[in-house]
Each structure stands twice: as structure tokens, then as C-alpha cells.
Symmetry: C2
Subunit: 201 residues, 2 copies
């Protein structure tokens, strides 16, 4: 079991381009099943998932991403991303979340939870969702751009007040092979006892 | 590979009590290796890990959790947790993060990243850390209480300004068997296209 998990999580890549091949509801349900086994503060399980397949809802959500991108996101990204990352992000957003057949919007119910612990109680579930997609052979990505305008997204998918959209996860079959992950070594990120003392096993 | 991941993530439980058995640096490094393969905005990898083993640093960090608990956390929890959850939380905090031999503090470097995407760029790594611990046979938990007083925790572990402590993860061998997870069914958490329309495969 160990090696399988390390192989799976160690090769996770964001997928930006999807084929039109469908993702079955049974597979979506299996992914959500494992997402709901993530930890949360007080075990309150504040995650909520909206599985978007309807073409009109999807168009409106994709439009929100394009609007934010055109309204400043692209300009911001131009100064920060590598040319290839910028190209991929631009094309995927213009195409509408990379043409993925399913888009799962993950929201956090902040109505009965201190705001301080909402993110720590939702993003572990998002990570489980991404890993589950990979375990089933799908590509996925963690995006947030369409959630920037909370009011607009909330109106499209009828989110109640106090329920905050936190991630949008396109899921589908990768249209291109995913390359190897590019990551800084642990040694550059890990410290012993106090920041600045290298963790050096 | 599929089933192994679903079994692992589907049985994740918070571990509150640990034996004194050590966790090797090699195992910690392996866990951090997979933590650093989580997704992050712009692939900026803003996670930072402080692996606390030093007794004096640990005492100070444990004290921060106790101080917050005694200063209002317990009273807050009394009204919200079940008696058994409250008892477990109380005893674990009083004992100092459940007596775990290793405490990994996960911080997010917000110095070059919009604050809007810091949590979404750190908690997936935390979840990988928790899953990796389980894959190696260790117990762990996602805690945040000792991070409430950012200034105090930052002083103990010398965090630079702009680097925010976000989670404290005790890791060790479980002192008791972990029971089955208690989770609401997917059907209560999943919607189709718009909030309020059940997702019913």
C-alpha cells in the first residue's frame, strides 16, 4: 500500500487539457466518497460539492473565469508565469476549464464554523478529490479563478449565504500526457526546530 | 493502485494519542517528500516545514496550545463537541499534542503570493503529509490551536514576517487503535449543477 500511495501522490500534476470523454457519475461519486473522508475541524465536514454538467451552468461558470482573466488575471500572470505556463493557463481558461466534461465546485459551509478553520477543513478534501481522480486515471486541477467573484458564482449555482466557493476542479481524461512534476527539494523547504536550521537527515 | 489509495484515504482518522516510539528522520523526510508534491498556485510551492524534536521548543509550542485552550478554547469546545471528543481533545492538549515524538509545523510563505490563494496552496500539502504518515503506519492529526497566536508561535520557531503558521501535525505511533471514520454520506454533501438539486447517480 505504501508504495502505491507514494507513487500516486508523488506524480500528481495539474491537467489543463481534457478530451471530451465522459466521466461517469459512479466515478464522480467514488471520488466524492474519498473527498468526504478528509479531516475537518470538530469533524464538522463543512465541504459541499456542486457537480456541474449542465451546459448553460457550465458556460456561465467558465465565463466567470474568462472575465476575471481578461479583467486583470492575464496581465498579472504575464509578469509571473513562465511563457509555457502562461500559454497553457490562457488557452485552458479561454476554452472553459480546459474543456473538461465535469467541473466540481467545492464550497465550504461557514455558517457553523469559525472562519479561521474553514480553509483547513475544506482543502484536504479537495486534495483527496484530486488524488482520487488520478487513482481512477483521470486528470484534474485545483483552480480558484472563477471563485474570485463570489457573488457572481454564488448566483450561478445558487449558493446560500455563508457557503463559500473555494475551489473549482475540472475532471476528465488528459488530452496530453502529463509530464513529471517540477518541485523544489525537501531540503529547501524543511527546517529543524526553528526556521533557518536545515532539516538534514 | 486504485484500491490501495481508496482504502488509505477512506480510513483516515485523527490520532490524538501517541506512544513514545520514535519516528525516524528518514520517514519524516519521506512524508515531506510527498507533501511537497501537492499542487499550489502558480506552482510556487509556498509550504515550509519546521520539524520539532527539541524538548524546549516543543514545550513552548505545546504551551501555546494549552494557553489558548485554557483561555477560551475549552469553554468554546464544551458547547460544541460530544463529551468523548471533548475529553480526547482536552487530554491531548494538556499532554502536549498527545505526546507525539515529532511535531511538524506547516507554514505558508505569503511573501510572494496573493493571500487569496495561500490556504489553497498549503493545505493540500498538509493532507499529503497526513496520508503519507498513515501509509507508513503512523498516526497524525491536523491541528491549528497553537497557531492562533501567530506572533507567539512565530517567536518560538523564528518564523520570518510574512510566513504564516497554518497547521501543526503531531506524528507518531498510535497509542490506541483508531476507530472507523464517522462521516456524513456523499448524498448529503453533493449537488447537481446548482445547490439544492441532489446529486443522485
Amino acid at each position: 500500500m505504501n508504495d502505491a500511495f507514494f507513487d500516486l501522490a508523488g506524480s500528481q500534476r495539474a491537467c489543463r487539457w481534457f478530451t471530451a470523454d465522459d466521466v461517469s457519475d459512479a466515478d464522480v461519486e467514488r471520488m466524492l466518497g474519498v473527498a468526504t473522508h478528509a479531516p475537518s475541524a470538530e469533524n464538522l465536514q463543512p465541504w459541499m460539492f456542486v457537480v456541474v454538467r449542465d451546459a448553460e451552468v457550465r458556460r456561465q461558470v467558465d465565463d466567470l473565469a474568462r472575465r476575471h482573466w481578461d479583467g486583470g488575471g492575464r496581465a498579472y500572470a504575464e509578469a509571473r508565469l513562465t511563457p509555457s505556463m502562461l500559454h497553457d493557463a490562457d488557452a485552458a481558461i479561454v476554452a472553459g476549464h480546459g474543456g473538461a466534461p465535469v467541473l466540481v465546485i467545492v464550497a465550504g459551509d461557514g455558517r457553523d464554523l469559525p472562519r479561521r478553520v474553514l480553509a483547513s477543513s475544506v482543502f484536504p478534501a479537495v486534495q483527496n478529490l484530486l488524488l482520487a481522480a488520478a487513482a481512477l486515471g483521470y486528470g484534474s486541477a485545483l483552480t480558484t479563478i472563477a471563485a474570485v467573484d463570489r457573488a457572481a458564482l454564488g448566483a450561478v449555482i445558487a449558493l446560500p449565504d455563508g457557503v463559500e466557493p473555494m475551489a473549482l476542479v475540472p475532471i476528465g481524461r488528459p488530452a496530453r500526457p502529463l509530464g513529471p512534476p517540477r518541485r523544489e527539494p525537501v531540503a529547501t523547504k524543511a527546517h529543524s526546530d526553528r526556521f533557518g536550521t536545515p532539516f538534514a537527515p
